[in-house]
């Protein structure tokens, strides 16, 4: 081998090893997802059979049951077993609750944290730096410590078992982090952009709306996605705050598929897939706005 060939061979070996490692990591991470998808497509009889990755007779029946709210599996169509609750009939309601609560808390979080972060980066007032640092401190406290004090607050407000308790609860956990993230983001927006717009004759509000917000969009989207994911995936708050089955969000509701010894894996996995899809779609839609360096070119690059 010539030295050049040796160099090339070494480089190929390195690349191959890197890709092998990436494929392995991807497989490990994706396996649970793929398993959930596979299980959700299996008919009931196949679940007890030796596990296979590819269903022998793929079916959408699990999904149909979830979406039409029929409860055949509980009781297998016979009268000898009727569970106290039949989870599938609530599925769409839970889904709606999750959407309402996540979207609501995200909107509240984003509006407040955007204004707060802008204020902290652009205006001078006493103790203004305390805001981002204390908010980060707040974020460092584990939710499990916050959940019971918050529960007492919600009880006093008379909000327990209402979707408002969840919305506000999620705001309390996501707002500090969104605020911190946007604070860092706003600091990166050159103040000259705003000054240029002021000189161009725009009012402060107009500058904020037409120049600042569009420049901060990637940060706002990142904070929004973060907030959506946290609210969408929360189990703890929902478990503690909510009592009525109809008011559950998806995470808590899906646990009802463990009905005593009776676990309906097909429905459970179909729910898991349906829970993942909205977040995945959201992420794919917004991903292109997240590209780093969106603001590059505004000032010297």
């Amino acid at each position: 081998m010539t030295p050049m060939q040796r160099v090339r061979a070494t480089r190929w070996a390195g690349l191959a090893a890197a890709y092998a490692a990436l494929v392995a990591i991807t497989l490990v991470i994706c396996f649970p997802l793929m398993w959930a998808l596979s299980t959700s497509l299996k008919p009931k009889q196949e679940l007890s059979a030796p596990p296979t990755m590819i269903p022998h007779a793929p079916t959408l029946e699990n999904y149909r049951h979830l979406l039409t709210g029929k409860s055949q599996y509980f009781g297998g169509g016979s009268a000898d077993y009727q569970p106290s609750t039949a989870p599938p009939q609530y599925f769409l309601g839970w889904f709606g609750n999750s959407v309402l609560v996540s979207v609501g808390s995200t909107i509240i979080s984003i509006v407040i944290s955007t204004l707060a972060a802008y204020s902290v980066t652009r205006f001078r007032y006493r103790y203004r730096m305390a805001v981002p640092y204390f908010s980060l401190l707040g974020y460092m406290v584990p939710s499990i410590i916050l959940v019971f004090p918050l529960f007492i607050v919600m009880t006093n407000l008379g909000l327990t078992d209402s979707l408002w308790s969840l919305t506000l609860g999620y705001v309390s956990t996501t707002l500090p982090f969104c605020m911190w993230l946007l604070w860092a983001f706003f600091r990166g927006i050159p103040v000259e952009l705003e000054e240029a717009a002021l000189i161009d004759g725009a009012s402060r509000l107009r500058v904020f709306w037409e120049v600042v917000l569009p420049s901060a969009l990637p940060g706002i989207i990142a904070a929004g996605i973060f907030s959506m994911i946290v609210s969408w995936n929360d189990y703890l708050f929902a478990r503690v705050f909510m009592n009525t089955v109809e008011h559950y969000p998806l995470t808590v509701g899906v646990m009802l598929f463990f009905e005593g010894v009776h676990v309906d894996w097909g429905l459970m996995m179909a729910s898991a897939v349906l829970m993942t899809v909205p977040m995945a779609v959201l992420f794919m839609l917004l991903q292109r706005h997240l590209v780093a360096g969106f603001g590059a070119g505004a000032v010297k690059g």
Partner: protein
């Protein structure tokens, strides 16, 4: 109409950034504020723009006081050092933004943007986003955004400092050309004395919150008002000799070995208030260097020779004082050689050591334009 900056001061906390700055210039002039960083030149520009309010003082446009108007109400335009193009808008909308805010009719807006783009040769870039432009192109867009509004005053804050050396020379010419075409009054901030010298009708040299001198480039160069201006304007910097006294029709620089400056006939200095503690200054370009003895010249030894391209800078030590001279690059000269330095008395500058002010009368001041 004249633009009058009247006794402006600006204090940030306990720091006086501007102390009683007054300038007056007329329309169509190209004024440069030049000085080292921290001299207050950018603050003064920002006060003109309205982004900063003065602690005291007023700005007059004709007989209208504008010192406390909001930036948008002043109808001026500013180009920022980092261009500050709106990243979410393409070039067209960047340039049209000010017109849109002012509710200019769409047709008119389009026409003005296209006109400005043509002048700046960026009409093929109108649909690009700022991030897709090179530094020079961004610079032109920023300039175009200022032009389309047809303001009565352009404020330029070190607009060339982010460009590479070659592009800077091109854009310098471009700016000058645009100014000549539009004849809009321009205030230009730079720390680069070469930019100030080449572009301006008049230069305000600033230092420590004061305007040190406000005059034409020629006058600032030929007759610096004080030691600071003398040292700041001109490259390489002026040679400075401290401890100079006038006696018996001669100038003597004290030191380990007293030096008699070769100024034949002191009649130029007849009207000057010469003291016995002065600082003499002479530009390296104004020193003639000879390799053989010259009557009345300062004799010294060559310490260092630097080739600057078309010329050489030669450092000569004369009686313990170091003097730099600019000579032709072809002159064969090396370290350790003897050299004789002489200069025209008219090229010598004399400053009072205490006040640092120029003690010589301004040569032919009345004939200089703009004064």
């Amino acid at each position: 109409m004249t633009i009058r900056i009247d006794n402006i001061t600006k204090r940030f906390g306990k720091t006086d950034v501007l102390r009683a700055v007054s300038l007056e210039f007329s329309e169509r002039e190209f004024i440069t504020l030049v000085g080292p960083s921290g001299c207050g030149k950018t603050t003064l520009l920002r006060i003109l723009s309205g982004l900063e309010t003065p602690t005291s003082g007023e700005i007059w446009h004709g007989d209208r006081a504008i010192g406390h108007l909001s930036p948008g109400a002043r109808d001026i335009a500013m180009v920022f050092q980092n261009y500050a193009l709106y990243p979410n808008m393409d070039v067209f909308h960047n340039m049209a933004y000010g017109l849109r805010v002012r509710q200019t009719p769409v047709e008119e807006t389009r026409r003005r943007v296209h006109d400005a783009a043509r002048v700046l040769e960026i009409d093929h870039l109108l649909e690009r986003k700022p991030r897709e432009l090179s530094g020079g192109q961004r610079q032109r867009v920023a300039l175009g955004r200022a032009m389309v509004r047809r303001p009565w005053l352009f404020l330029l804050d070190e607009p060339l400092s982010n460009l590479d050396a070659k592009l800077r020379v091109t854009m310098r010419g471009e700016l000058k050309r645009v100014h000549r075409a539009l004849e809009t009054t321009t205030v230009y901030v730079t720390h680069d004395q070469l930019e100030a010298m080449t572009m301006s009708d008049r230069i305000a040299v600033m230092h420590a919150g004061y305007v040190q001198q406000f005059a034409t480039p020629e006058e600032v160069y030929r007759h610096p008002a004080n030691l600071f201006v003398a040292g700041f304007i001109g490259s390489p910097p002026m040679n400075v000799l401290r401890g100079v006294a006038a006696a018996d029709g001669q100038l003597r620089a004290s030191g380990e070995a007293p030096l008699v400056l070769p100024v034949a006939g002191m009649n130029r200095f007849a009207n000057a208030a010469l003291g016995d503690d002065m600082v003499a200054g002479i530009r390296p370009q104004d020193i003639a260097l000879a390799l053989s003895p010259v009557q009345g010249a300062l004799e010294g030894e060559v310490q260092m020779v630097q080739l600057l391209g078309p010329e050489k800078m030669v450092d000569v030590s004369c009686a313990g004082r170091m003097l730099s001279a600019i000579v032709d690059a072809d002159l064969a000269i090396g370290m350790g050689q003897r050299a004789w330095l002489s200069f025209e008395p008219a090229r010598l500058h004399l400053f009072d050591a205490k006040s640092e002010m120029n003690v010589l009368p301004t040569p032919g001041r009345a004939s200089l334009p703009g004064c």
